[in-house]
């Protein structure tokens, strides 16, 4: 018998039936309160800000200009984007407006040295946002590489207000859940942080030191 078979055999031999531990049915009834729909945006923004993220409330007309101003404030000279249409438009816009920011879209395998050592900021697009925890859902894939939201010191995530949901439970029960699951699905709720030294918060532990959320309130 293999280890696998022996482990499973031991688990299967466990007595069942004489246990008073009849589990309460796992039901879909909500037991933890979620914010009302009217409060979703406020809750999301508040939670993100509590977690040291910056939220840009903007719209489809002006978000690129608003973001560019932020990038300039952060002295970003090299911005890395995923391979989706939104990134293409952003790249075009930045190229038309600024000579100081080199915007690259990832189209081939990412060179580790480049992303670790040369890129200042990464631009990602979320597929949903969760109000109760202030979380952005990122489905990685060919359009949305995993490292873009992880390695550069500044992480920018775009999300649309129509993509807001109450919380993770609501998301998990909704049709938003991709099937099949992407190889890597992420909830991001702030910049990287640690409190491992004497419970003192420090940002930028291993991942981004800063997170800017671009919220399109008319989309």
């Amino acid at each position: 018998m293999s280890s696998r078979e022996r482990i499973l055999a031991r688990l299967r031999q466990a007595a069942v039936g004489d246990s008073p531990r009849v589990p309460q049915a796992v039901s879909s009834d909500r037991v933890w309160p979620a914010p009302d729909k009217a409060d979703w945006l406020d809750a999301l923004c508040q939670n993100l800000r509590d977690n040291h993220a910056e939220v840009l409330l903007t719209d489809q007309q002006t978000w690129m200009a608003d973001l560019l101003a932020r990038l300039q404030k952060y002295n970003v000279s090299r911005l890395l984007c995923g391979n989706h249409d939104t990134a293409a438009r952003l790249q075009q816009y930045i190229q038309s407006q600024s000579d100081d920011i080199d915007t690259q879209r990832v189209t081939t395998d990412i060179e580790k040295e480049v992303i670790f050592q040369q890129v200042d900021a990464g631009f990602s697009v979320a597929s949903a946002a969760l109000a109760e925890t202030g979380s952005l859902v990122i489905e990685t894939g060919p359009q949305e590489p995993r490292t873009v939201s992880l390695v550069p010191p500044l992480n920018i995530i775009l999300v649309r207000q129509s993509q807001l949901q109450a919380d993770f439970s609501a998301w998990a029960a909704s049709t938003s859940v991709p099937d099949p699951m992407p190889t890597n699905l992420l909830l991001i709720s702030g910049p990287s942080k640690t409190a491992d030294i004497q419970q003192t918060l420090a940002y930028g532990a291993h991942g981004p030191k800063s997170l800017i959320v671009v919220m399109l309130t008319d989309a």
């Binding site: 004489d18 246990s19 008073p20 531990r21």
Partner: protein, 271 residues
């Protein structure tokens, strides 16, 4: 058989109307070290028109052995209490930890044993002292029977034992009783929910850790500036006041029953 998790929070037990007669389970610590508290409890209950039955055959609930993992020994002693408290009347227990033993642990201790049904029945009619006063008699009724409500001002630090708080869930009852005493100011020590370090044989088997916990609790009690320390668990009282007194800080300590009786009724000359 699997260890039970705590019951859902909302599941409060149902209480009977005030009975004519109750058993008093004095507990072995009250018996030897705080017998006056037992007498005070009896008088307090009698003042409510309840007849108190104190079985001379009672000894100890069996908790020390049970907590130490000596199940057979615990069971043999607990069996004696099943006999001593056999009649179908409520049992009022002087200490929260012993109440928890009978109310919560007896059904586990006797699971699969011939006395299982008897143990469950006893558990169901067993009440912690303050629980009985608040939930069966009622605070207003109790205070209404007071004959000596005009006592001098007193600041009382309440130590609610872990069994009162977590096993029996009667922390609120303890507070209510003390708060409602005339001219009494209730103070709670810092980190009020933390264990005082008694824990029965724990105090002996892990004496260093227990002493460290007791020292912190004693300091927190002393810092309240109270006139008196009270609790419904004599193990905690002995632990905290013994530590205070070793440090030369003498703060009088009383079982809750004695505090209640003395603040609600004249006690001069009575024994």
């Amino acid at each position: 058989m699997t260890a039970q998790s705590e019951p859902p929070h909302a599941a409060r037990r149902a209480y009977p109307s005030v009975p004519r007669q109750v058993y008093l389970l004095g507990t072995c610590l009250v018996d030897s070290f705080y017998p006056q508290a037992g007498m005070d409890a009896i008088r307090l209950l009698e003042a409510q028109g309840i007849e108190v039955v104190f079985p001379q055959a009672q000894t100890c609930c069996g908790q020390p052995a049970w907590n130490s993992g000596y199940d057979e020994e615990a069971r043999s002693v607990a069996r004696q209490q099943l006999h001593a408290f056999a009649a179908d009347i409520p049992v009022v227990v002087m200490m929260s930890s012993c109440a928890g033993m009978v109310h919560k642990e007896y059904p586990l201790l006797f699971r699969g044993q011939p006395e299982e049904a008897q143990a469950i029945a006893l558990a169901q009619r067993t009440y912690e002292f303050s629980e009985f006063l608040v939930d069966v008699i009622g605070v207003e009724t109790l205070m209404g029977t007071a004959t000596d409500a005009g006592s001098a001002a007193l600041t009382v630090a309440l130590h609610t034992s872990c069994s009162a708080r977590r096993s029996m869930g009667v922390a609120e009852q303890h507070r209510t009783l003390v708060e409602n005493l005339p001219a009494v100011t209730l103070v709670e020590p810092e980190r009020v929910t933390e264990c005082c370090g008694f824990g029965g044989t724990f105090a002996v088997k892990q004496a260093d850790i227990s002493a460290a916990m007791a020292a912190d609790k004693a300091a927190a009690v002393a810092a309240t500036g109270c006139d008196l320390l009270t609790s419904a668990d004599c193990g905690c009282l002995m632990n905290i006041s013994g530590t205070l007194s070793k440090q030369g800080k003498e703060i009088p300590a009383q079982h809750l029953a004695s505090l209640l009786y003395q603040r609600l009724y004249a006690t001069e000359g009575e024994s």
